[in-house]
Symmetry: C2
Subunit: 370 residues, 2 copies
């Protein structure tokens, strides 16, 4: 079939809107009509050329929601008409990782996904001239239609609006999941969130959901304060306005250090501050942000020997097919908010404008609606 | 009273055996006759002058066992005749740390202990001329008699031999506790232990106790192999004999990385190797060793984001008054071994010989018997 997509032709160039060919689903695959997709910093990271693993030409986008149109042979868990959220972290429920209680990093389709192809080693996308176009993060939601492995789709309720729940495909789950699934924050905890962008805001509402008593937000941009407060932030700190070192200031503000700290900046110096601002004896610091290639974190081992732990999270520790439908329920039940974070809605033709809004810091999330 | 002690007069000098004055126990304090004491690397670290927090003159030693001779006013949990193991990590059972489920770092006597004095700010030790001598780690087991806070003493069964259970005061608990209390290693796990000295051997027997299926020991000294095998090591790796990088070698040996890795070297480069040799998705790396002042650990944050966690342990995460008596039981019941690790027994007069044996790598543990 033919469909319309925004294609990343090469690193550093704007996406090009064009018609592309899409082959139908093969064994274990599913054809999905994407109804809406968010534009995430990870798409930007790859498009810019900064991602050393970025491949071109490709159809980016990994934060979508849509409807199943057709299933390939052997697909048993989905039927046409099902509403789905694509998963860049699959959940096969049979690999060593899926069967291990401490991780969500399913390896079933990992290797081929990283190469921009389906598990059989080929791409379903091509130009009208027949040249292959690569998939991206196993999703390629910047195409109106896409093909995914069955294990890379979470089936969700049909009454949830696509233009909001698409955000659960990455940002919402990454932030809330870091709190609920990775850190397992307890009622009454004190926490610090570094970076109040789209991920940081979702960490904050995750902390509110978990019943944290103190939720400190740290950002160099004062304009982030009011939105963060809306999602549950109790204290705002602009490091530029703190006299002296930031770590002792935050330790004092949290009465000895935070029970949990979260880095949502990707800056390795901030990651160190986050670890050291966590409480002696039991503080846990969770890295969410993606650092530039080659960057390293460091600290004195004494920080760990005296009881702090340093951890990380990918996709919020969520098992996609199991947890994403629950998060959709939380949204529909009003336990979490998404609407205020979707600051811009665009058509596919205007998708590059979404990247510009991100660069300018004007959007929390821009969503493309097909 | 007068007692005999090995006194650390100044950094870098041998201990001097002399008679010293010891004041009786004040409120909340206990007079203990030390029957045996181990000589630990931490004593050596302080005596050498490398410990930036080392104070002199002081009576070192923190790995002892003895008998209560007298209790001060208000002491309720001990009576004369009780057998005890001194604790450099107290357990008051009422501070914020003792009441927190995730830490053993009781803060009750921490500040004064670090200054070499009792909680009232004074020392019980002095020279026969009346000049004060400082306590060390709240224990000072290199004196035949010593005074400790009640909260710094674990009461243990009376049939356990002092010259063996003194080792539970530090090395045994640190190694076994890192496995049982800090890492909480599960049955069937794969683990790697870096450094096969006294701590490393106890990590190994802790792993055997926990039911680990694979226990890899890593040491540059081949002579460590046979003793480590006796305690449960299943695979030995000498990094000097590995071609290429050590991390992929260890990852391959453990079928994808170890579930748990332990650093018992204090070398920050080894700490990084330990983290990176742990399994993607769920590997936990525990730092036990004490690094030189100012040394830093580092890694790419990607190591954590893909599911590894970096933690540390002090006194094996054990709550001294609660857990040390249990470990004594484990020894008496034959669940753990201590005897083969006590390679040398000395009189107090020969204590400096114990330090020389340690330097020469000839001892696992030397014990002074009074």
């Amino acid at each position: 079939m033919r469909t319309k997509a925004a294609v990343a032709i090469a690193a550093g160039k704007p996406l090009e809107i064009m018609e592309v060919n899409l082959d139908g689903p093969r064994a274990g695959e599913v054809l999905v009509e994407i109804k809406a997709t968010g534009i995430c910093h990870t798409d930007e990271f790859t498009l810019s050329g900064a991602d050393p693993e970025g491949l071109f030409p490709a159809i980016l986008g990994h934060e979508g929601a849509g409807v199943v149109l057709e299933v390939g042979p052997g697909v048993t868990s989905l039927v046409p008409g099902d509403h789905v959220i694509p998963l860049y972290t699959a959940e096969c429920r049979e690999c060593d990782y899926c069967l291990h209680p401490k991780t969500n990093l399913c390896q079933k389709v990992r290797a081929t996904q990283g190469q921009g192809v389906m598990p059989d080693g080929t791409s379903r996308f091509s130009t009208l001239d027949g040249d292959p176009i690569l998939h991206y993060m196993g999703c390629s939601t910047f195409s109106n239609h896409t093909v995914l492995p069955e294990v890379s789709l979470a089936k969700v309720r049909r009454d949830a609006p696509f233009d909001k729940i698409c955000y659960i495909g990455c940002g919402v789950t990454t932030g809330i999941g870091a709190v609920i699934y990775t850190a397992k924050v307890e009622q009454g905890s004190r926490a610090i969130v570094f970076g109040l962008g789209g991920i940081g805001l979702n960490v904050i509402q995750g902390l509110r959901l978990a019943g944290a008593d103190q939720i400190v937000g740290v950002d160099l941009n004062d304009s982030k304060k009011s939105m963060a407060e809306r999602f549950g932030m109790t204290d705002f700190v602009n490091p530029a306005e703190v006299e002296g070192d930031l770590v002792p200031y935050l330790v004092n503000l949290t009465k000895g250090g935070a029970d949990y700290t979260f880095d949502a900046t990707g800056n390795v110096n901030v990651m160190r501050t986050a670890l050291e601002a966590s409480h002696k004896g039991w503080g846990e610091s969770i890295i969410i942000g993606v650092a530039p290639a080659g960057a390293e974190i460091s600290t004195r081992p004494f920080q760990l020997v005296t009881g702090r732990s340093w951890r990380g999270t990918a996709f919020g520790g969520a098992r996609g097919r199991t947890d994403v439908p629950k998060i959709v329920d939380w949204y529909m039940d009003g336990k979490i908010e998404i609407d205020p974070m979707i600051t811009h809605q665009l058509s596919l033709e205007d998708i590059n404008e979404g990247f510009e809004l991100m660069h300018a810091g004007k959007s929390i999330r821009s969503v493309v609606v097909y």
